[in-house]
Structure formats: C-alpha cells, structure tokens
C-alpha cells in the first residue's frame, strides 16, 4: 500500500539546517555528488581539506568510509570515480571537549590534568572509530567496486581473540568478546573517564598525580595505541598486512587547542600504515602547523584541498551538477535545469555549456541602452570607443570583448540600482533602495550566488522546488529566495562572537560585512563609471588585530572568500597580503556584480568608511526592512 520514497539528503529544506555531522554515512552516500576535489581525497596521501561552513567537508570525509562506500555500486554519480584504497576511520570532533576542558579547570584540576582527561576522551573516541571501521569492513555484504580494500572475515573464535587482545592493550573490561563488545567497552570507558573526574573532585589533591598516572585510560599515546591495535588485527588477519588506514579528523577547528596540539604530535608518528586526512576551517592559528607537519611526514605525499572558490568559474560546474541532481530527485523526471531556471543576465566564463538565446542578448542590450541614457559617465565611456550606443553594441571581435563584454556585469548592476543622473539632487544617495530587481535570476547566476556550497544549494533549491509545482521557476521567486537565504546567512553571522573593531561602532561581524558591501556598492554603482571598479580587498600590514580576527571568523563562516593568485596555493596560512571578496550570496544584496573586481587595502576601506561615517550606514536590508 505504501509508496516507495527514495528521497534522501537532497530533499532537506532549510537553508542552514542541513549538517552532515548528524547524517549517517550510508544516507549521505545515496545522494552524493562528488566535486572534483573528491578524486584527490581518495589518493593514498595525507590531506588537509579546508572549507567554510557548509562547504561539504564532513560529507567528503564520510564518503571515504566503508559504510558510505558499501552501496556505491548503485550510485550513478560515483561511476568513474577512482577507488578508495584505504579504510577510512571517521572521527568527528566532539563539540563538548572544549566545554569539558573548561569545566575541569573550573573544578580545580590543573591545566595538565584537565588536558589529560579530555585527551583521554579523544583517544578513546579515536579507538572506538577505529573499531567501528573494522566492523564496517566485516559487515560488508558484497564487495563494492570503489572500496579497494577487501571485506574482512573472521571466525567467531578469531574475532573473540582479537577483541580480547584489544581489550588487554587498551585497558577495557569486555562483556562480550567481539568487535561490538569492544566498541561498547570503549563507550563505557568514555563514561568512566567522566566518572573518574567526578570522583576525583572529592579526593585529596596530594595523591591526585599518582591516581592520574595509574589510570589505564589516561595519558595513552594515541598512535602507539592504534599501532598496537593494528598489529593485533594483522596477526589474526594476515591478508590485511600492507593495507593503509586513513584517520579522517573532521572539524578540527572545534577541538580544543590542547587536542590539536596532541594531534600535531601524533602526526610525527612513523607508522606508515596510517594516513591523516584532516578537515578544518579556512583560517585558524595552527592550520599552517598542520600542513607543515603533514608535509614533513615520512612515506606519503600530502595534498591540500580547498572547498571554496575564489573565482566563480571553479565552483560553478559542481553547483550546476548538484542543482540538476536535486531537480531530478524532486521531480522524478529528467527536467532540464536550464529550462526550469531560465537564462541569466550576467555572462559567465565557464567550461560548462551555458545556454543563452537571443532574448538574453536583447535584455543585456537594454541594460546598456538604459545606462547610456541615465548615466553621463557611462555615456562618456561609450563615446571613447564609438560614436553612439548602437555602434558600441555592434562592436565585434577583440573590441567587443574588451569594451562591451567586460563591462556587462557593471552595466547590469548600475542600470538596475543607480538613480538616473537627472533625478537625484547633489549629495543624495545615488543608488536605488527598492527591492532587488531580478538581475540575479537564471541558471548560471543562481549557481554563482550559491558558491558551490552544498548547504546553500540544497537549501535554496528545495525551497524553490517546494513552491514551484512542476513548471518553470520565475525570476521574482528566485530573487525572493536568494534574499531569504542571504537574510538567513546574515542572521547566522549575528550569532558568531566578534571583537569590537575600532572605527566600527556596531559590534559583531555583520557591521563589517555591511561596511564592505556599502563601500563596494558606492564604488561600483554610485561613483563615476569605470570598467574596473573596486570590489575586493587585500589585507595589508596596517590592519588591526581586531579586524584580522573578524576576517578570520568571516572566512570560516563563508561570508568572505579567499581569492588565491592564479596558480597559487588555495590554503591560507596567513591573512596578510591575501586578497578576499564578499561571498556572492551576500554581495547580491548590495547590488554587486557576480564577478571578481579590483582590490583595495582593507585599512584604506576602514579609514574611508570611518571618515565618511558610513560604518553605521544602513544596509540594503535595513533600508528595505527585509
């Protein structure tokens, strides 16, 4: 009587609700669309994977586990991907570790004792993840093509022997001598570490050092414990000798510094059977230490993978692929994404085939003609290259590319947002404050705005499809959803703690985004026309520590995007001297074009806004009351 419901994570609705942390790997695998970085992650090499919130770090790591790969033969999107030649051991960062550390200190434990307790929890969690990964290998039914390490098979007596060996090594009390019994005993050990700490509070401080030293779960070296565990496994399963095991540490930025430091020490392990694949936010004080430690590890290469796209052409292919997958899943028929979303006004340079038609060109020409009529500075620009606007629009070849196509995005936003020269009084604001016109609609613009970020893409596409029925999704609906998503993103930014930044009166991260957005809007929309306006910034040497900290937080949240030099390293080890732009989802709310614009130093921007008193200027959100 019941219908089959094959929907999975692609049908999550809320913009910021989807978090792969809580989703089992097997569920993630059903809808996984691999970005191009996935192939790098499958290499038998150490890897640092860097990306802001929602960029898919957790999903990518979980996709390297036997559990996720179990049904990979059934996934069309995974066909053609390279196999995974190691066993992925997924270790999520427990967000309670930091809180535990603080609590232990407040309860009177010394720093080293508090660290010792939390590190014991961390080690136990890693061992449990290791046992779970072995169990996943044992419970594979049919060997999937993408998992290059074979199913493990034990006789019950062998499994019992292995379980006892691990229990002896790791100080466990086994209730059942099996893999699951060991996992349960490790869970119990986690509980007992907490109970030990609780009991310790009431015992004399004098003998505490000895009791800590005697406790079997405290101060165990992680890699030595893992190596011993692997030795035991290899002794009962000789066919697994020579295999690699990848420790997939997720969201390391959430781990306390003490655990990260211990992990760094673990990276000096010389056991070549272990690979490390670490996911972390784009900016953190010790990111460079992790990358250096990995590069110094013997026996394996190391890769650095970034999941943010400074240049939109890099991420648009993945965006379009994921959007198409969601559409197919929701509509249960092969609808054409380009048909459903329609063409975009903004041109895009992409290796992906982008549909345009005569009406796109006609619409773009209307923007040019309108701006020519309303903006004397643009008119002068046109006349520098031709006698009339029609002659200008008819330019061909290199001239067209250089003078017309290049300025199209600027022309679109100026035409949409700039008040005509003949209708504003001197000194008044030169940009319109009405709701966004539909300039960000259409296939490629929407894909650009969504920044290749799976969380944005899943959230926005599902909201659009929820209301669209079976047909096309109109421009106003797309625009409204972009605005809604941007508002939710802005609301999220208000929840992130931020320092008070001198020169910006309002506290928090949002005023910094507003400062940048309004500054760029002034340059792009209000100032005299230039084909090359300012729309990005460089962190110069004069910038304050507060601004640096705020930029780091904004990068980690995904509100700012790092723009590496062409061919440059995508991983940030320092902010200074680096170039950044606003996330396009936020940029769209300041009337900015969807392309990378010229940069200016952040100190100059802050100083100019401070003098102008613009730092408290209302954003387009406040003006519109959205």
């Amino acid at each position: 009587m019941s219908m089959t419901n094959s929907e999975g994570v692609l049908t999550q609705d809320a913009f910021s609700s989807f978090n792969a942390r809580a989703v089992p790997a097997r569920v993630l695998a059903k809808d996984f669309i691999p970005p191009f970085q996935f192939a790098t992650l499958t290499r038998r090499a150490h890897t640092v994977i860097v990306g802001p919130r929602g960029s898919g770090k957790t999903t990518l790591l979980k996709m390297l586990t036997p559990e996720a790969l179990r049904d990979s033969d059934e996934s069309e999107s995974l066909q053609g991907q390279p196999g995974v030649g190691f066993t992925g051991i997924f270790v999520p960062t427990d967000i309670s570790w930091s809180a535990q550390l603080d609590a232990y200190r407040e309860l009177g434990f010394s720093d080293s004792q508090a660290s010792s307790l939390v590190y014991a929890s961390f080690t136990t969690a890693v061992l449990r993840a290791f046992v779970s990964a072995v169990h996943q290998r044992v419970t594979i039914q049919t060997q999937p093509r993408l998992l290059l390490v074979p199913k493990l098979a034990f006789e019950p007596s062998t499994e019992a022997s292995l379980a006892r060996s691990w229990a002896d090594s790791w100080g466990l009390t086994l209730r059942i001598p099996s893999l699951l019994g060991v996992r349960a005993a490790l869970s119990q050990q986690l509980v007992e570490i907490g109970q030990f700490a609780t009991k310790e509070r009431h015992l004399s401080v004098e003998d505490r050092g000895k009791r800590f030293a005697d406790h079997p779960a405290l101060d165990r070296p992680l890699m030595a414990e893992l190596s011993a565990g692997l030795d035991s496994l290899e002794s009962v399963s000789p066919e697994s000798i020579g295999e690699r095991w990848a420790l997939l540490f997720d969201e390391l930025e959430l781990a306390p510094a003490e655990i990260r430091a211990e992990l760094l020490r673990s990276l000096r392990s010389v056991d070549e059977r272990f690979l490390f694949k670490l996911s972390i936010s784009p900016f953190g004080a010790d990111l460079d230490q992790f990358t250096s430690a990995l590069s110094a590890m013997p026996g394996h290469d190391h890769d650095e993978v970034s999941l943010s796209y400074g240049r939109k052409e890099e991420g648009i292919g993945f965006s379009l692929e994921l959007m198409a997958a969601i559409l197919a899943r929701r509509r249960h028929k092969p609808d054409d994404l380009a048909f459903v979303l329609g063409p975009s006004d903004f041109p895009v340079e992409s290796t992906v085939a982008v549909p345009t038609n005569g009406s796109t060109e006609a619409r773009r020409n209307r923007y040019f003609r309108a701006l020519y009529r309303d903006d004397q500075t643009f008119k002068r620009y046109v006349h520098r290259h031709s006698q009339s606007i029609e002659e200008f629009l008819a330019l061909e070849g290199d001239s067209r590319a250089q003078f017309v196509r290049k300025v199209t995005p600027i022309v679109i936003v100026r035409s949409a947002f700039r008040i005509p020269d003949d209708s504003f009084a001197a000194g008044s604001r030169r940009y319109k404050t009405r709701k966004n016109p539909d300039i960000y609609r259409g296939l490629t613009s929407l894909a650009t705005v969504l920044e290749g970020n799976p969380r944005y893409i899943i959230g926005v596409m599902n909201e659009l499809l929820d209301e669209a029925g079976q047909g096309k999704i109109g421009g106003p609906r797309q625009t409204a959803e972009i605005t809604r998503a941007a508002n939710r993103f802005r609301a999220l930014l208000t929840t992130i703690p931020a320092p008070v930044v001198p020169g910006i009166r309002r506290r928090g991260l949002l005023p910094i985004i507003d400062m940048l957005g309004t500054f760029f809007r002034e340059r792009i929309v209000a100032d005299d026309f230039t084909p090359d306006p300012i729309g990005s910034f460089i962190v110069d040497s004069h910038v304050s520590d507060e601004i640096l900290a705020a930029i780091g937080s904004l990068l980690n949240a995904g509100a700012l995007v790092y723009v590496p030099e062409p061919g440059g390293v995508a991983i940030l080890t320092s902010l200074r001297g680096k170039r950044f732009r606003l996330n396009y989802l936020l940029a769209s709310q300041y009337g900015m074009p969807l392309r990378l614009e010229r940069e200016q130093s952040i100190s100059a921007i802050v100083e100019r806004q401070r003098i102008k008193g613009d730092s408290n200027q209302p954003s387009i959100f406040e003006i519109l009351g959205d």
């Binding site: 009587m1 019941s2 419901n5 094959s6 999550q12 809580a22 019992a160 209730r175 059942i176 019994g181």
Partner: protein, 396 residues
C-alpha cells in the same frame, strides 16, 4: 500471503503562539506558530521532514491522536493541521486518521462564542475528507472507516468539552458506545481493527500526575473490544504524553493499547527523565491472525537543538519494539538461553536470536526489559545495544 500496513503516529503537538502566554508563563510546546522555525533542532515538524527524507520513511496511514494546539488557539490548530497534512503527503500520500483532543476544543470559549468545536469545524477536510463522515463524527462522536486492510474506529473522546466540568476528562457515552457497536456489527469483520481516540482508556504510567482525566466509561469500551465479537483490536491514543505499549486488563483478547508520547510538548518535570518527544511508525501484519493483534513499531526521539534520532533508553518507548506476543519476558529469556546454547559460539547477532525465537519481534518493551534482565542475572548473557537497537548477544 502476509503483507504489512504501516501506520505513522503523532500526538499532542500543543502548538501555541507566543502572544497567548501570560508574562512568565512557560512555553507549552516546541512548536511556536507566530514565527515558526524551520530548523530541525528547533521545530519538531521540520525535524520530522528531515527524518523522513533521510530514512526514506513511508506510511499507509498517519494517525494524529489530538491536541494539535494548546488551549485551543485557532492559529496554532490551523498551523498544526497544515503541517499534519503536509506530513501525510511526504510519507507517500498517507491517509490521515485524526481525532480531537481536549486542547483542540475551545471548552472555555476563549476564541469562539459558545461553540467549542468552531475552529476544528473550520479546518479543511477535518477530520475526514467527506462531509457526511464529518457530520457523523460531530453528531455521533464515533465513525468507522473501512480501508482495504484496516477497519478504523475514530472516537471523539473530547466530544462533551464545553459542557460543565467535562474538560477535566474524556468520555464515551452510552449512546456513543451503542452507536459504535452498531457500526462494528455492520462492517467487515476480517480486517485489522484499530481504534483511535485522544484520552487514555485506563490509567497508565508509573508517574502520579494527579491524573483523573482518563476516559469516563473507558472500561465499557474495553469490554466491547475485549469481547472479540468484532475482532481483536489495537487502540491508539495520546493525551498523557506518556509513551507505552500495554495490554488492556482482562483476557488474552484484550486490546493492545498504544499510548503515544507527545510529538512536541514540553514535558512535565515528572516525565522529563522518563520520556521524550517521540514519533512512531507501527507495522501490522495483514491479514490479521487469530488472537491478540501483533505488530512492531519504531520510535524516534526529538531532541532540542538536534532533531530526530532513534529512541534511546529512558525515552518512553525504545527504537525497536513490538506487541502481541503472549510470552512473558522471563519465558523469552529461557527460550533465548536455549537457542544461544545451540549455536555454540560466544556471541551471536541479535537478529539470529529473533530468527530462532520469533516471539521477540512481538514482545512489548516491558517484556523485553524483563527478558534482557533475566538473561544477565540467570544466564550471564549480555545484550549489546547501540543507537537504540539491539545488535548482539554473548558472554565474556
């Protein structure tokens, strides 16, 4: 050939609007309708949507056992009804089986003039999509609906709310009981039988909340169902926010009583460490066998800031459970001991035990707890559970 009927169950949403709270009054529910969140960690309906997507859950029926709103607020009731209908659609166009709770009827005339049921009667297709059935529901307080595999009896146990002190408890009147029996006589006798009402038919649970709100004349209703003249029955109700599966007092023909916990109400302090907000899917075998109704259920907990996940210990009902077996928990333990011994291993998957002792599939959570305890104390056998599921049995 045996097939299954799947019934999703929600109850006691108690949605509210912030404006209806007095200063300092605690919120009654996690569903606030004036500015509802769509984050699964903040709105159980959104969490349910995510859970259904993730687990590809489907159901043939969606039971909503009343109290969609709190204190009969019309906006809250309307919001919940829309979400219930959307939920049914998401479950694969499940047929909705809904009844009214005491909080759905404006018994103190806060929002309607002397018409406690005005808001409910203004809802589209409530409780049925047939005008005639709706009139019967409001006039006779009981309706029987026959579907391909299930005969549903829907009882309005809050029918007299709005009169005198009736809001204090549920009721089935003699007249309604007689009418229900007439309906049962005249409808098919070879289907699964499920009765849905809001109030509990007898006192349940170990927590004394000073509760006197059970259905008046509930024992008469149970007597009718226990007679088995009209087949064996499953009763699904809400109201107490106390998840449990019990067998009604009487004989082996007494109905199975599934007391649904609340989907989203903030639980009383007395319940807070014994139950959680829960969502269920029941699976019944069809055609029905002779004897007590047999079935299985799955339960998920909603946890604030997280969303739904498989039910854990002390959640009310466990993630996996059943009902209908006549074997006591201690007997099941003895059977398992024998079955385990026949394997000769130190451990075995729990699924193997279920295969060898099929009654485990249909034992109630209480019988299962007795069974697991006896396995440990009498036979030194440990059952490993993980994420609310039993995985393995063995001994050290």
């Amino acid at each position: 050939m045996t097939s299954h009927v799947k019934i999703a169950v929600i109850s006691d949403i108690h949605a509210y609007t912030a404006a209806q709270l007095e200063p300092g009054e605690l919120r009654p529910s996690f569903v606030e309708v004036s500015n509802p969140s769509d984050l699964p960690g903040q709105n159980p309906f959104s969490a349910l949507k995510a859970l259904i997507d993730q687990e590809s859950l489907t159901a043939d029926f969606l039971v909503c056992a009343g109290d969609m709103g709190d204190k009969a607020h019309p906006d809250a009731i309307r919001y919940s009804w829309e979400r219930v209908r959307a939920l049914a659609k998401q479950l694969g166009d499940a047929t909705i089986v809904v009844t009214s709770g005491n909080h759905d009827l404006d018994s103190r005339y806060m929002y309607n003039d002397y018409d406690a049921k005005a808001t409910l009667q203004g809802l589209e297709e409530y409780p049925f999509d047939s005008g005639a059935k709706n009139n019967e529901y409001w006039a006779r307080n009981a309706v029987v609906i026959e579907t391909e595999a299930v005969r549903w009896a829907v009882l309005n146990s809050a029918a007299y709310h709005g009169y005198a002190e009736e809001w204090k408890h549920g009721r089935i009147s003699k007249r309604t009981l007689a009418y229900l029996e007439e309906l049962l006589k005249s409808t098919s006798q070879d289907k699964l039988n499920v009765l849905v009402c809001h109030h509990h038919v007898y006192k349940i649970g170990s927590v004394d909340l000073g509760d006197y709100s059970a259905m008046e004349a509930g024992s008469a209703l149970l007597q009718l169902l226990e007679s088995a003249k009209y087949g064996n029955w499953l009763v699904i109700h809400g109201h107490r926010h106390w998840p449990s599966v019990t067998y009604a007092p009487g004989s082996n023909s007494s109905p199975v009583v599934f007391s649904a916990g609340s989907l989203s109400a903030v639980l009383y302090d007395e319940l807070a460490d014994k139950a959680r907000n829960q969502f269920y899917i029941l699976e019944l075998d069809t055609p029905p066998q002779a004897g007590r109704m047999r079935g299985r259920f799955k339960a998920w907990d909603w946890v604030s800031d997280e969303g739904f996940s498989p039910a854990q210990a002390r959640s009310g009902l466990p993630h996996d459970g059943g009902f209908g077996s006549t074997k006591a928990g201690s007997t099941l333990a003895d059977d398992i001991h024998v079955a385990f011994g026949s394997l000769g291993d130190q451990f075995a998957p729990w699924s193997k035990m279920v295969e060898l002792v099929p009654d485990l599939l249909h034992s109630t959570p209480n019988d299962m707890a007795v069974c697991i305890s006896r396995l440990d104390t009498h036979y030194g056998l440990i059952v490993l559970e993980h994420n609310g599921r039993r995985h393995q049995i063995g001994r050290a």
